[in-house]
């Protein structure tokens, strides 16, 4: 029996209905690859309200079916609503693997779904391979400093979330003809929110748009304190760069939140990105790995930032940053 693989898409409200978040195409790509291991086809599941046009769009992909749970009660995301719609569908459909994009929304509800539906849970997968008659999955551990290879044990469905960028969205293949769109087949009258959604707000008002910066000097925890930022500011000035930061710098109050780069901050892709004292947790890497040239300075040769960098220097940033400022000024004839 081929594996039965579903992908549950992340949908967001948009003008004129709903749209699929980009990461959802990555979940489809991963599900297609998993199903293809033994010649099967994946199915997609979409939850929301007013899904007609969206389902047609998804059905163009090479899928066995597109299942929709379309009800006003699913217009706004809450874990309660999503779990109450999906748990009975998992019980009835018994898929082997259900793929989700690993997003802030899915981490909020997928563990709860696994608990409610009695399935397994395999979060933040970056890859898989068939080894020794079974699948071996790869996922980051220890903030990306190491990776673990993991096997699934026991029987029954496992919910798998795939890390952003691990299964490129353009890998989601189109089908020869549209896939059938069918109702998910659960009683949506029992769908019930477990929280009241009061609204959204922008954090601290985004005063600085780092996405337009040509050169960024980004600092991490390794800089050691707000009082030690002076030399970094000098370097940024010499390079004509904006200053960015990884999350710990913001959490410690060394720089304002509008300087944060990463999954909960801004996503940037400048011509030159200089990471100073940033170890490179995955939440930071997703926000900057598209930069054209990446330089990393860190005292730890094992820091994951070096895996995405083009140039690396292992050493004490408090010595290297002033030395770099001098070298940049000389090179630019400002010395």
């Amino acid at each position: 029996m081929p594996r039965k693989v579903w992908a549950v898409l992340q949908v967001r409200a948009a003008e004129g209905g709903a749209e699929v978040a980009r990461m959802s195409w990555e979940a489809i790509a991963a599900a297609q690859r998993l199903a293809a291991l033994d010649g099967g086809k994946a199915a997609a599941v979409i939850l929301g309200s007013g899904l007609g046009a969206l389902a047609e769009q998804v059905a163009k992909k090479d899928l066995a079916a597109v299942y929709t749970a379309d009800a006003p009660a699913l217009a706004a995301y809450t874990p309660g609503a999503y779990v109450s719609a999906l748990a009975p569908a998992l019980a009835a459909g018994k898929p082997d693997l259900v793929v989700f994009p690993h997003s802030y929304q899915s981490v909020d509800y997928v563990p709860r779904l696994a608990q409610a539906a009695g399935t397994g849970l395999l979060p933040e997968v970056t890859g898989f391979a068939e080894e020794g008659g079974g699948l071996v999955w790869t996922r980051p551990i220890l903030g990306g400093k190491m990776q673990a290879k993991v096997r699934i044990q026991g029987e029954g469905t496992v919910l798998v979330s795939v890390q952003a960028g691990s299964f490129p969205a353009d890998g989601a293949a189109d089908g020869a003809s549209p896939a059938p769109v069918e109702p998910l087949g659960v009683d949506l009258s029992t769908v019930k929110a477990d929280r009241e959604v009061l609204g959204v707000e922008r954090v601290g008002g985004e005063k600085i748009d780092l996405t337009k910066a040509d050169v960024i000097v980004a600092v991490g925890r390794g800089v050691g304190g707000a009082d030690k930022l002076g030399p970094v500011e000098e370097l940024a000035k010499a390079l004509g760069a904006e200053i960015g930061a990884s999350r710990p710098v913001i959490d410690n109050g060394w720089l304002p939140r509008d300087r944060q780069i990463g999954s909960s901050g801004q996503t940037v892709a400048p011509r030159l990105y200089l990471a100073v004292g940033i170890s490179g947790a995955i939440q930071h890497l997703v926000g900057m790995k598209g930069s054209a040239t990446i330089v990393a300075i860190n005292k730890d040769p094992g820091a994951p930032i070096f895996t995405v960098a083009d140039y690396g220097i292992v050493g004490d940033l408090h010595e290297l940053v002033p030395a770099l400022t001098v070298a940049v000024r000389e090179a630019k004839g400002q010395g």
Binding site: V107, G143, R202, S279, V295, I313
Partner: protein, 264 residues
């Protein structure tokens, strides 16, 4: 309010990490252990909420003997008591198995709120608190950046972090489980007085049988995941590493940025 805070002791990832002999985990002998970062913030949030309402914090953890250090630290900063889930049967669990065990221990008392960190810095499953919520039948929220207790403790207005610099504001009925994100507050340090007082505070040890749990449903036996091996991450092409003292390395880097990458 009576508040349970679940914490985890994790390896200090800033220190050097070496893979153990069996290749399936780190060599624990040369590790330093600390309280998981987001759990420290959860503990601080719990202490603040307990102080504001005249309540108390009970801290829960699961692990071998060494995790007593984490409990001692939590007691020193102000938790009233500690519960240590200590049983080889609890070890090696995934988020579901660990969440089941913690929920069974929490359920023995009456709490208004359970707080945890949003994700562990070692295994990073990010789901244990949500599983606890499911087991207890309570609402939950993950990645919490603000908590405001309302209606005399009947509900909470919660700020949740979303992607791209946005927050979502939601209201949950209490009791609930809140999974706190790092940065929500400023965790306090233990005072000498606190450290002394902690020595007199109670830490209860509980086993699977104390909680009425079948050992096959918790720990490695109750998990759907088994770690086969750990290794250094597979990078891309890898960085061109530049050697030399600070001045020489800086000069070489700037030359390459000018001549190879042409970005200066």
């Amino acid at each position: 309010m009576r508040i349970a805070v679940c914490i985890k002791q994790v390896p200090n990832t800033e220190a050097r990490l070496r893979i153990g002999k069996d290749g399936r985990w780190l060599n624990e002998e040369d590790l330093q252990f600390v309280i998981n970062e987001s759990d420290e913030y959860a503990l601080e949030e719990g202490l603040k909420l307990a102080e504001a309402s005249g309540g108390e914090v009970v801290v829960f953890t699961l692990g071998p003997e060494r995790v007593r250090d984490a409990l001692r630290k939590a007691l020193a900063v102000g938790a009233a008591r500690a519960v240590h889930l200590k049983d080889p049967a609890f070890e090696g669990g995934d988020a579901l198995a660990t969440g089941r065990a913690l929920a069974a221990a929490i359920r023995r008392e009456a709490f208004d709120l359970v707080l945890t960190g949003s994700q562990s810095d070692d295994l990073g499953y990010g789901g244990t608190g949500s599983v606890v919520a499911g087991e207890l039948g309570w609402p939950h929220a993950w990645l919490v950046m603000g908590v405001e207790i309302e209606a005399g403790g009947k509900s909470a207005k919660v700020t949740r972090e979303m992607e791209s610099g946005m927050n979502e504001i939601v209201r949950l009925s209490l009791p609930a489980v809140l999974e706190v994100q790092a940065g929500i507050n400023h965790p306090r340090y233990a005072s000498l007085k606190g450290i002394m007082a902690a020595k007199k505070k109670e830490t209860a040890e509980v086993t699977a049988s104390d909680l009425g749990l079948d050992p096959a449903t918790v720990g490695a036996a109750g998990s759907r995941l088994a770690i086969v091996s750990v290794s250094l991450p597979e990078g891309g092409a890898g960085a061109q590493m530049i050697e030399g003292d600070a001045q020489a390395a800086a000069k070489t880097l700037v030359e390459r940025l000018q001549k190879e990458a042409r970005v200066i």
